[in-house]
């Protein structure tokens, strides 16, 4: 199996090289046979990489510990399920997973366009293949997941870190990868358009849905990562500006900017070059993120996986920059805007500001993440950039973004008149003012950050509701429909617009959750059995400390009785589990009581078996569940926005319908599986 897997990677390299050449030659020589051959080549790389991935999974499942990668990341005692998913648990396998996902996306994109976009597809396929070649070279020379022990193969593996043996770690990486790698497809279309010179709107309409799909999976992946941190790591939060998280966040920011500004090109023929810059930057940031998390570039203070793949990535990034921006400069003449900006009170200007803000955010996160490495390179001193840096900058930036979420969609294209501005914004401003007064005097919230955030949330929510209300009322009057019919037809007729609003509402809910951060409570307390401590409206009593062993691990559990505002709420069981394998690995098992208003979050920080003492970390996290709720709304909005129109009876309509349906169904499945596994 190791040979099969390895030779499948080698075969991928050969096939991808052939495909890239066939695509370009086929185009230059106008040979339909070569062009068709290139399409099959793209499908073939999917086939060979699937064989390779399947071999690796097979090796994991059959406990073949002569393979180094399998030996490092699994052991016999692990459940079958986690053995299979150890596939992406380490560096070498995760690279194979990366390129396998790319080959899936690539095959779908090529199939979709088999009869369309004939001009740009050859270059698109070639670009795709060059990226595949890069990853196969990386695996063949630097990170071969099929490397075996030459002699004395161990009979058992070292085991996967228990923190990773968790439903979130099964769903979070694939979702993140699907999103992350999804941005490659729009990028290949952009390069295809640039290389061929066909720079009208066709390349954008070819990949518009892909952007939404990539954005969607990235958003879900980031949220699942946050959920995992919150449930498993036991520090009570979901985002810590860790370089690994940041790496997935930069492309999210630039990708979000791209999704918005392509609409300006669609409507007004502006920002053409800018859109190309955005998608190129987004792709480069995904490469940079992949490199950062794997090469030890960022964690210079305590490098983990020191390896040479950083050099390879660096070279490939330079190549990408030179080729992409070189092509862009070469085609600059064709990218002149068809029209200019007419007014600051226009949607295109709001989108431009949105772009600047998102780009500034991406730059700041990138700067804060890379600063320690740059500083060390220049001065030789090692420094650390704390979370305060990110929070100082990102909180105000987030608020501006939130504000624009409300304002942008209500401004007209070209120019809004004073009358339309008044008509659109009177109600939302009044609602925001009422909420502000209510929060200040009613709930005594005087800290400006949560206050401003919540007021903005109210403002944006009312702009969205107003849109739905006005649209429905309009249909009821003009088409003489009842409320439900009018509402449904409204959404179905303009799915992108109303799906977009639902996504925006999801983002608003997430911001409500972020605002809750400002009110969190924290306390550490060592308790004897029978003693109590109170935090906020909760009072907790340590009933007893329990010690058990299940063969795989020793479990130390604190039985804690909880009262909320005087009422009995049952028991929580924060615990520590000491695993036998990997040796002496201890995990902290968080126990929490969830409600929409707040979570009571308990961690067993330490214990003293002799004196029957338990040290509890108590946290109250207000509004935190709004973050997960917001993500669910975003998923729902996405399903509406991406659903294809039934009217267009093109040959490819079936595929177009299939893909988003598949993506939606797959992600819902992922989410449901996660939740079910998490709550049982």
């Amino acid at each position: 199996m190791t040979d099969l897997g390895y030779y499948a990677i080698l075969a991928t390299f050969v096939v991808a090289t052939y495909t890239a050449l066939a695509a370009i030659l086929g185009h230059l020589k106008q040979s339909p046979r070569l062009a068709a051959s290139a399409q099959y080549g793209a499908f073939a790389t999917f086939g060979t990489l699937t064989i390779s991935s399947a071999s690796l999974v097979y090796l994991f499942v059959t406990n073949d510990y002569s393979v180094k990668y399998v030996q490092h990341y699994s052991d016999r005692s692990m459940p079958l399920f986690y053995k299979a998913t150890s596939f992406w648990g380490g560096q070498d396998g995760s690279l194979l997973f990366w390129v396998w996902v790319l080959s899936i996306w690539g095959a779908i994109a090529v199939y979709q366009n088999r009869n369309k976009n004939r001009e740009i597809m050859p270059y698109t396929i070639a670009t795709l293949m060059v990226i595949v070649i890069f990853f196969t070279v990386l695996m063949l020379f630097q990170a071969n997941p099929f490397e075996t022990y030459l002699a004395g193969a161990p009979t058992d593996g070292r085991g996967l870190n228990p923190l990773l043996q968790n439903p979130y770690m099964v769903t979070h990486p694939p979702s993140l990868y699907l999103g992350y790698i999804g941005w490659t497809i729009p990028f290949t279309f952009a390069i295809g358009a640039l290389a061929h010179g066909k720079l009208d709107y066709s390349w954008i309409s070819a990949m518009r849905r892909w952007c939404l799909v990539a954005w969607f999976f990235l958003t879900v992946g980031l949220t699942l990562g946050g959920l995992w941190a919150y449930e498993e790591l036991g520090w009570g939060g979901y985002w810590a500006w860790d370089p690994v998280e940041n790496a997935a966040f930069f492309p999210w920011l630039t990708g979000t900017a791209f999704i918005h500004s392509v609409q300006v090109q669609e409507r007004r023929g502006m920002y053409k070059a800018w859109n190309l810059v955005l998608i190129i930057v987004t792709f480069i940031l995904t490469l940079l993120g992949t490199m950062m998390t794997r090469s030890g570039v960022v964690q210079s203070v305590h490098a983990f996986a020191q390896s040479d793949i950083g050099t390879y990535f660096f070279a490939f990034i330079i190549l990408t920059v030179v080729v992409s921006f070189g092509l862009l400069l070469y085609r600059m003449e064709a990218l002149r805007p068809q029209q200019g900006l007419e007014s600051i009170l226009s949607r295109e200007f709001a989108f431009l500001v949105n772009n600047w803000i998102l780009l500034a955010a991406a730059f700041l996160v990138l700067f804060g993440t890379l600063f320690p490495s740059l500083y060390k390179g220049v001065t030789g001193h090692e420094v650390n950039v704390g979370a305060t840096f990110f929070n100082t900058w990102m909180i105000p930036i987030g608020m501006v973004m939130l504000f624009l979420t409300g304002v942008g969609p209500l401004l007209s294209w070209r120019k809004s008149t004073a009358a339309t501005v008044q008509q659109q914004f009177t109600l939302p401003v009044v609602v925001a003012a009422i909420v502000a007064v209510g929060l200040w005097f009613g709930l005594d919230i005087t800290n400006w950050k949560p206050l401003a955030t919540l007021v903005l949330c109210a403002f944006v929510t009312s702009t969205i509701l107003q849109e739905f209300y006005r649209g429905t009322r309009y249909r009821m009057r003009n088409a003489k429909e009842n409320v439900l019919d009018a509402f449904i037809t409204l959404v179905v007729r303009a799915r992108r617009r109303y799906g977009g609003y639902v996504i925006h509402f999801g983002i608003v809910l997430m911001f409500v959750g972020f605002a809750g951060e400002a009110f969190k409570l924290e306390e550490d307390k060592t308790l004897k059995e029978g003693e109590s401590v109170s935090i906020g409206r909760y009072a907790v009593t340590l009933q007893q400390l329990r010690f058990e062993d299940d063969g795989q691990k020793t479990m130390i559990t604190a039985d804690v009785a909880v009262k909320k505002a005087g009422a009995d709420m049952g028991e929580l069981h924060p615990a520590k589990w000491a695993y036998r394998k990997p040796e002496d690995q201890v995990t902290t098992e968080v126990s929490k009581m969830m409600s929409l208003r707040d979570d009571l979050y308990l961690v067993l920080g330490g214990y003293d078996a002799e004196n029957r003492l338990a040290t509890l970390q108590l946290k109250v996290n207000p509004l935190v569940n709004f973050v997960w709720l917001g993500c669910t709304f975003t998923m729902f909005g996405f399903s509406i926005a991406v659903w294809p129109d039934r009217k267009k009876q093109e040959a490819t309509v079936r595929v177009r319908r299939f893909m988003p349906a598949f993506a939606g169904a797959a992600s819902l499945l992922v989410m449901v599986v996660t939740l079910v596994l998490a709550f049982i």
Binding site: N161, V244, H302, A305, H381, V383, T392, G605, G606, Q617
Partner: protein, 148 residues
């Protein structure tokens, strides 16, 4: 003024003020902290008066002490030989005091990074942040260091 001058001036203004704000936000001692190996702290303790730093090293075997019934810890940190800039500091240790919940990975020989200050006489490192790491493993290890 021509449009080019305007663009250059506004770009200079934005970059200038942005750069100033950026530099200013990095001056906060909680934001930017210097990292040093334990050997540097042992060899030149005077260098770190009145300065919050992060110090890295290994937990000396058998040195972890906990005051019963509390979260007060005291332990010795020894330099990492492979990374030491001052070989004369090898074999010596820095005494660290820390109050709070320790990460699961905190044990003998673990690689630790502590953030805090040296006491004025240079005898003890008073830490208010403790990050510990089990022998390295991609991802797992990276994620473990999060905010303890």
């Amino acid at each position: 003024m021509g449009p080019a001058v305007k663009i250059v001036m506004s770009a200079a203004l934005i970059l200038g003020s942005g750069g100033y704000l950026l530099a200013e936000s990095l001056r906060d001692p909680d934001t930017l902290t210097y990292f040093h190996g334990a050997d540097v702290v042992i060899a030149q303790p005077g260098q770190f008066k009145d300065q919050r730093i992060r110090m890295g090293g290994h937990v000396a075997k058998g040195s972890i002490m906990q005051k019963p019934g509390t979260l007060e810890y005291q332990f010795e940190v020894e330099p990492v030989a492979a990374m030491a800039k001052f070989p004369e500091a090898l074999g010596k240790t820095v005494t660290v005091r820390y109050t709070g919940v320790v990460p699961d990975t905190f044990k003998d020989d673990a690689e630790v990074i502590v953030a805090g200050r040296l006491t004025p006489n240079g005898a003890v490192f008073e830490a208010n942040e403790l990050v510990a790491k089990c022998p390295s493993k991609y991802e797992a290890a990276e994620k473990n260091e999060k905010k303890y």
